[in-house]
């Protein structure tokens, strides 16, 4: 009973950790680079939850001031996460741009196939060079 109560009071953290380790698992176990970046995104969004959850006050309202309300949730983590989301998509897109270039150079985005290609042709420059 004690454990169940503890889990209920810490439910946000439990789910947050689940999302985080799911992302971690994808990044380690999956060889596909798009999938890896999705895993990285999962990891990142779990951090949003980590920051926003403790800022919530039961019975409070969104931090937009009005005379009718007295209790507001903590606005500071909201600001930090708001900017983190937009920065997050920009950096994930940068990662995806790299993946697109890797696909052009190697013809695959599977980690295993790329490593195999590199060990087979160690001296070959894989960049197709259409930009040069």
């Amino acid at each position: 009973m004690d454990i169940l109560e503890r889990i209920a009071l810490h439910y946000n953290y439990v789910i947050m950790i689940f999302l985080m380790i799911s992302g971690l698992y994808i990044v380690i176990a999956k060889g596909n680079m798009v999938k890896k970046l999705v895993g990285l995104s999962l990891f990142q969004t779990s951090v949003y939850l980590l920051y926003i959850s403790p800022a919530k006050i039961i019975g409070g309202t969104a931090p937009i001031l009005d005379e009718k309300y007295k209790i507001y949730s903590n606005p500071l983590p909201h600001v930090l996460m708001l900017t983190a989301i937009v920065v997050g998509v920009a950096t994930i897109a940068l990662g995806l741009a790299l993946v697109a270039r890797i696909h052009e150079a190697y013809g695959t985005i599977e980690e295993d196939a790329i490593l195999e290609n590199d060990t087979k042709n160690p001296d070959q420059d894989n960049v197709s060079g259409e930009d040069q």
Binding site: P54, L65, V79, A90, A100
Partner: protein, 318 residues
């Protein structure tokens, strides 16, 4: 009640995550990730983070999905079956999870007001927002005034990421755009009707951001989203006649410069960087003006970066 809705949404979030991990078709993964983002946005609303929810819905479910699908169009959407056994990653992830859960036992309980995170600097922001700046949305005042140095840094990161993507994916333009959806009358009419309202809503979110959820970040993503939607239906070539790639690329540094210049004006009046009181004779007006200028810089950089990212991926298709 709030706590129960929160628990139900979080459980759904966990289920969707489990499906993302198990799913091999990357197209399904991307769509599920959009569902995940909408669920996350709903959780944020329940947790009173309305500004964050707006951003997550626009960015996570909108822009991310578009960019991911753009990548899948280049790379193909089947994931290979891994050759090695996934035992070590599972053990690593489970062990990390166990340690972290053990760590949460010392964290404060959910929803309490008298915990350290809610008692130090946050009450100051909530009390001083109206007396100092006359802006009721505290998230906006912190973002654009109390902690405007942070936001400048983040805007610069977005600028840098956009620059990197354009350098990585430049020069491979292809004339014939995908015209599959162009012939669809229903799409064409509906999209043409909807786009003005999307843009109107984006400007509302931007200019009303002092009094309601929203601001430069959300509005920028929405504006870019409107052009991306147009581009999806009518082809990237048509969209670039409306907003050329060069204009979008020019606007990315412009926004950062507006932001940085607003801060630098204080130097001329012998004050600290980002001290808005130099902008007008009356401090409250000065702070408000500073917030508006900075949000404008953010809007321009975010909108043009998101659009440039999209253009870069579309131009790269084979």
């Amino acid at each position: 009640m709030e706590a129960y809705i929160n628990m139900v949404l979080l459980t759904l979030l966990a289920i969707v995550t489990l499906t993302i991990v198990r799913q091999r078709n990357l197209f399904s993964v991307v769509v599920l990730f959009g569902v995940y983002s909408f669920l996350m946005a709903s959780v944020m609303i329940v947790l009173d983070a309305v500004d964050v929810a707006l951003t997550e819905a626009a960015v996570g479910a909108g822009i991310s999905t578009v960019v991911l699908i753009g990548t899948l169009h280049i790379t193909g959407s089947e994931e290979m079956r891994p050759s090695r056994l996934a035992l070590l990653p599972i053990v690593t992830a489970a062990a990390t999870g166990a340690i972290l859960i053990w760590g949460t036992y010392d964290l404060p309980e959910f929803g309490k007001a008298d915990v350290p995170i809610n008692t130090h600097v946050a009450p100051f922001y909530l009390e001083q927002s109206i007396p100092l700046m006359g802006v009721p949305n505290v998230v906006t005042t912190i973002l654009a005034n109390f902690r405007s140095f942070d936001t400048l840094g983040e805007t610069t990161v977005i600028f840098t990421a956009g620059l990197g993507i354009m350098l990585l994916l430049r020069h491979k333009s292809r004339k014939e755009a995908s015209k599959i959806l162009k012939k669809d009358v229903v799409f064409r009419v509906i999209i043409k009707l909807i786009i003005p309202f999307i843009m109107l809503f984006a400007f509302y979110v931007h200019f009303h951001g002092d009094y309601s959820p929203g601001g430069g970040f959300q509005a920028g993503v929405m504006l870019a989203g409107a052009v991306i939607l147009y581009s999806i239906i009518f082809g990237a070539h048509e969209a670039q006649r409306v907003v050329p790639q060069s204009v979008a690329a020019f606007m990315i540094p412009l926004g950062v410069l507006i932001y940085a210049a607003t801060g630098a004006i204080s130097f001329i009046y012998g004050q600290n960087y980002m001290d808005y009181t130099a902008l007008a004779s009356y401090p409250k007006d000065a702070h408000h003006l500073g917030i508006i200028l900075i949000e404008l810089g953010v809007l321009i950089t975010v909108a043009s970066t998101m659009l440039s990212i999209f253009y870069a991926f579309v131009e790269r298709r084979h």
